[in-house]
């Protein structure tokens, strides 16, 4: 997964500015930045949902996105949607996935319009794991989940990472990033300003990240 | 207080819209009434109707016919005979939207001619029906009878009835009756006989005008 000298602007607003990034396979990468830093646009560019004005993006066949909000068709049931996703990815692990994300069995066959935000997030996660992807992009994957849910999902993502999936996680929750990621890239004004390697996955490293983020988010940091 | 005011907004809007609707309906009646004799008015309304009816002129024409029924009952029940003057407009509009609509011509030969007292308009509509349905004998026959009985125009009656014989499936009795009309040898009895026959073809609620005409003919005969 690689981008080289990528630029993207919306009218006069330069969202991504000459950004180059190389993600090592089999590792978990974090993207950290203030609002408007360009994280979501970068993710969309990687997924082919947004086209860059300039630069090269290595197009990937086996890449899946877990979007920021749980976007699901509300008239379908979780089971139908997941069955569809598995059929597209040529897998047959519908029930295993539903159990993995701890979606209660009595909700499997109910239309998703009756789901809470947390339940929708769980089914979104299950959808993103349907094809055992080689590359997994997580955009705020813990939003809408309670503390127990967050802990469970972190365990699940760690397990997936160990199975060889390359993960790119974008989050404002620094502690989640530190627990899962091997490298965290800090973004500001459309550029990657600093890449920090996480070795111990400790609270101390989380504090360092917080400080670096505050620094790069300050007005004069880029001058 | 603000909440109280809000509660009144919706009913008020409904009342205002209803009043507006009635106003538009009245204006529409007034418009057709004012312009009934002007041909451009009929042409104009036909275009507007076609535009509104779009892909479903059939059902629009059906609704116009229901309007005719309601006008008839309003005139009969509420004793407002002046309402009958709208019948021609509604029948013409229905005919223009669906030129083959049989019921339009049936009502033209009964209600329009005998209740609204508009035999000229009835004959004009039936003439259009003759073009649209060239195999139906009723239209020229009814038109011819109206010309003879109400317009007292035997030349026109001859013209119209002559074409009855050309039409397929014309009953022998009708041909006999038509020939008697053509020979000007028909009697009041023939006319009463024909009107009694017509009475059977018209629903019970719409027979008032024809019954009156039969009574009048019987009176003349005596």
């Amino acid at each position: 997964m690689k981008v080289q000298s990528v630029c993207k602007s919306y009218k006069t607003n330069q969202v991504i500015d000459q950004l180059s990034l190389d993600f090592t396979d089999g590792e978990a990468h974090g993207l950290l930045g203030a609002n408007g830093a360009g994280k979501s646009t970068l993710i969309k560019i990687l997924m082919g949902l947004v086209f860059p004005d300039e630069g090269i993006v290595e197009s990937l066949e086996d890449i899946v996105l877990l979007p920021e909000s749980p976007y699901v068709p509300l008239n379908l049931t979780a089971y139908q949607m997941l069955k569809y996703a598995c059929s597209v990815q040529n897998t047959t692990q519908v029930e295993t996935l539903l159990k993995d994300v701890r979606l209660k069995e009595e909700s499997w066959h109910k239309p998703m319009r009756s789901y809470s935000k947390g339940m929708k997030q769980r089914i979104s996660i299950a959808l993103s794991l349907a094809g055992n992807p080689k590359y997994l992009i997580l955009d705020e994957p813990m939003s809408g989940l309670d503390a127990m849910g967050r802990a469970h999902m972190l365990k699940l993502f760690t397990k997936i990472k160990k199975q060889g999936t390359t993960i790119l996680m974008c989050s404002h929750a620094v502690t989640d990033l530190v627990r899962l990621c091997d490298t965290v890239h800090i973004m500001a004004k459309g550029k990657v300003t600093e890449s920090i390697v996480i070795k111990e996955h400790s609270m101390k490293e989380a504090e360092v990240l917080e400080n670096r983020l505050q620094f790069w988010s300050s007005e004069h940091a880029m001058d | 207080m603000g909440e109280m005011k809000k509660q009144w907004v919706l009913p008020l809007v409904v009342v205002v819209l209803s009043l507006l609707l009635f106003q538009i309906r009245d204006s529409s009646h007034a418009f057709y009434e004012q312009n009934r004799t002007q041909s451009w008015a009929t042409e104009y309304s036909a275009t507007a109707d076609r535009v509104l009816a779009g892909a479903v002129p059939g059902i629009f024409s059906d609704f116009l016919m229901l309007d005719v029924f309601s006008i008839y009952y309003e005139a009969q029940q509420a004793k407002k005979p002046s309402e009958m003057k709208y019948v021609n407009t509604y029948l013409s509009r229905a005919q223009s939207l669906d030129p083959k609509f049989f019921d339009v011509y049936r009502l033209a030969s009964s209600i329009l001619a005998y209740d609204a007292n508009m035999p000229n308009e009835a004959v004009a509509l039936l003439k259009k029906g003759m073009v649209q349905r060239p195999y139906v004998w009723e239209f020229p026959f009814f038109a011819g009878f109206l010309a003879h009985d109400l317009l007292k125009d035997d030349k026109l009656a001859y013209e119209l009835m002559s074409s009855v014989a050309d039409r397929e499936n014309t009953p022998v009795m009708v041909l006999t009756l038509a020939s008697r009309f053509l020979e000007s040898s028909s009697t009041k009895e023939d006319a009463i006989l024909f009107l009694k026959g017509l009475l059977q073809l018209v629903p019970e609620g719409n027979r008032e005008g024809i019954k009156k005409r039969i009574e009048a003919l019987k009176h003349e005969e005596n």
Binding site: G48, P67, Y71, V88 | R50, V56, D62, D103
Partner: protein
């Protein structure tokens, strides 16, 4: 062939939509309405029955496309549900084709329910009347009516896919679709009226030429002629049927292809 899977899913998605179920109920109840209305008439009872079915077919189609299809596609794109679908190996082309065919399948289902219920209603009601009151009704004429109605709206569906490819929101898509429906609804009769000799003599030549050109180009919802002909027991000839179907498929394909070309290049 990923689009087949999405078409199948679309069928489920619309089938489970409450609005669609309401439309199906209306389609099932249409014969009751048709019987109720036609029983008020004197002679052309069969004609009025067919008129009601034709009007309901139009109404159901308009509601289906405006409230179900436009909403479905708008939610996909503007509420970003499309992110779930556009995961490799599903391409944008597969997504567009899958959604289109899924919607077509559901529309066919709706029309079939309307057709079957109307034929059943006619069998129970009209067959008991004498020929004089049936206005030349035959069950296959109702089939023709539904068949023509289907193709009318296939071109509208192509147009909706075109609008969705570039519009910036649900309201915009709905507005353009409604505008297209209204335009196709009123323009042919307006033009027909304008072409009458009385009006033509006062119209500048270039305006007449321009109007004729537009008339030739736009999709014609010529249900008016077809419905009237069928309602009075007249069948539509093979050549007219072929030309009609070809015209609407062509519009649909052109709009769909344009829409797909734009959609492939748009940021989501």
């Amino acid at each position: 062939m990923q689009w087949i899977k999405l078409a199948h899913l679309t069928l489920f998605e619309l089938w489970q939509n409450r609005t669609f179920k309401t439309l199906l109920t209306v389609a099932l109840l249409t014969p009751l309405l048709a019987v109720g209305l036609s029983s008020l008439f004197l002679y052309d009872i069969g004609k009025v029955y067919v008129d009601v079915v034709a009007a309901m077919a139009q109404l159901l189609a308009v509601v289906f496309f405006i409230f179900l299809v436009v909403t479905l596609l708008s939610r996909d794109i503007f509420d970003r549900i499309v992110y779930v679908f556009l995961t490799p190996p599903m391409s944008r082309r597969d997504y567009y084709i899958g959604r289109f065919l899924g919607i077509v399948a559901v529309f066919v289902l709706l029309l079939l329910v309307l057709l079957l219920s109307s034929v059943l209603g006619a069998w129970l009601y009209l067959d008991g009347l004498s020929d004089m009151y049936q206005s030349g009704y035959k069950w296959n004429y109702l089939g023709q009516l539904v068949f023509f109605n289907f193709f009318q709206y296939i071109s509208i569906l192509g147009f909706i896919f075109f609008v969705v490819s570039w519009s910036s929101g649900n309201a915009e898509t709905m507005l353009f679709t409604l505008a297209m429906l209204i335009f196709s609804w009123i323009f042919p009769p307006v033009l027909a009226a304008l072409q009458s000799p009385d009006v033509m003599k006062d119209t500048p030549e270039f305006v007449v030429y321009f109007l004729q050109w537009i008339y030739d180009v736009i999709p014609h919802l010529r249900g008016a002629d077809i419905t009237l002909s069928i309602a009075h027991g007249g069948s539509i000839g093979y050549q007219d049927t072929f030309l009609y179907v070809a015209e609407h498929i062509l519009y649909s394909v052109i709009f769909f292809a344009l829409g797909l070309a734009v959609f492939k290049r748009r940021d989501l």
